[in-house]
Amino acid sequence: MADRDEKELSGAANINRRGLLKCMTWAGTGVVWTLSGGVPRTLGLIGGAAAAEAPQGELTFVQISDSHIGFHLPPNPDPRATLTEAIDKIKGMPTQPAFLIHTGDISHLSKEEEWDVADQVIKSANKQVFYIPGEHDVADAENGKAYLARYGKNTNGKGWYSFDMAGVHFIGLINVFEFQPGFKSAGLAKIGDEQLEWLEKDVAGRSASAPIVLMAHLPLWTIYEQWGWGTADAGRALGYLKRFGSVTVLNGHIHQVIQKVEGNVTFHTAASTAFPQPAPGTAPAPGPMKEVPAGELHKYLGIRTVNYVRGKGAPALIDSTLVA
């Protein structure tokens, strides 16, 4: 199993020095993460690297997450401004992404005016955007009706969908409508039976060599049960994907980058564009890290670039902070 992991990961990691330098130039400015033998490690801050040698992947897209438009408290009273910085960063990328994904909590309180602001900022990137909701996007009095009316067109059930791009199969899972309440067991998110049945059918008959990207707002592995950072029925979803050679899970919700490798599945949570949350268990509660000084905020915020090269299996992921 260990050998297999290493073999699969060598495709993703691009660990040799030349590959690494390419990654660094491509990233421009920010923190570069890479996977080395299954253990993610950060390569440090890079400033002002030239973009001349940007690798030409067959598919590059960018993940943004947790823009929380409408949040108004420390450490970030103006998440519109930081979302704008994230979008400007994308616009300045030497290899322009084919599209963007937003992994939820677009808004803070499911208000139309919050989504209006987010849409206005994001559309300046001039890219197609695939959204999934966070729990903050379905917190209206009618349990997500407003989100689905606005973002859920041409989707299945309560907003889930899939699509194919450059040979990669993308699945937008929704785990903010159902949950397992914390009365007697851990309070966690749920995908729900109806959606799981859809997922099973959606991937049935697909070639196991097709890379899969699974998007969901809450993490699909239990990062920290005490804070509800997990999905109770994620195991069933991942079970349907066991036979696939490369499964990349992209989550938001916890406002920080945490990664894990399990067989052919790599799990990645993303930074927020609005405010950081504490590392699991390091604070009494998972609320915004209000103590972060204004000058430090951008170190905690970021975007993620995902780059697929045909025949290489798992994608290369680069997390960049919003530090100018």
Binding site: H72, L73, P74, H108, L109, S110, E135, H136, A139, D140, A141, F179, Q180, P181, G182, F183, A186, G187, L188, A189, E225, Q226, W227, G228, P284, A285, P286, G287, P288, K290
Partner: protein, 134 residues
């Protein structure tokens, strides 16, 4: 069933700080007695009962009131929360910081509830029958 949600405009926060002394006096007068187990009992139906939401917890976690009592939840946290009971008897909209939600408990019973945004946050309202007037 009566439910009320009141939104506190964020602009008013400074005003609220100045008003805090008076508010504290009111709250102290209305505060239910806490038992060693952290459970609160509100004896008279006329007494307002309140649950504070802070640091992703409900305080008190279990509140006992008599039938007819109006319970008010106030979100004093930096994160929005949303009250919803297990049986669908009452449900608030998302409460932003400083927003409140009230619900009047007409009938006796136990009402376990959660924050539907953070389902690991749990609380319970126990409603005792109102004492017949003597």
């Amino acid at each position: 069933m009566l439910t009320t949600i009141s939104s506190a405009p964020h602009r008013r926060r400074i005003g609220m700080v100045f008003g805090a002394v008076g508010l504290t006096a009111l709250l102290v007068a209305a505060l239910p007695e806490l038992t060693a187990a952290g459970e609160a009992v509100v004896a008279a139906a006329a007494t307002p009962a309140s649950v504070k939401i802070d640091n992703f917890t409900f305080a008190p976690a279990t509140l006992t009131v008599t039938a007819g009592t109006t319970v008010t939840w106030k979100n004093e946290d930096d994160s929005p929360h949303r009250i919803g009971d297990k049986n669908g008897t009452f449900k608030s909209a998302a409460l932003d910081t400083d927003d409140t939600f009230s619900h009047t408990f007409a009938g006796p019973g136990e009402y376990p509830y959660i924050c539907t945004i953070h389902p690991y946050m749990v609380g319970k309202i126990i409603v005792k029958p109102a004492k017949p007037a003597s």
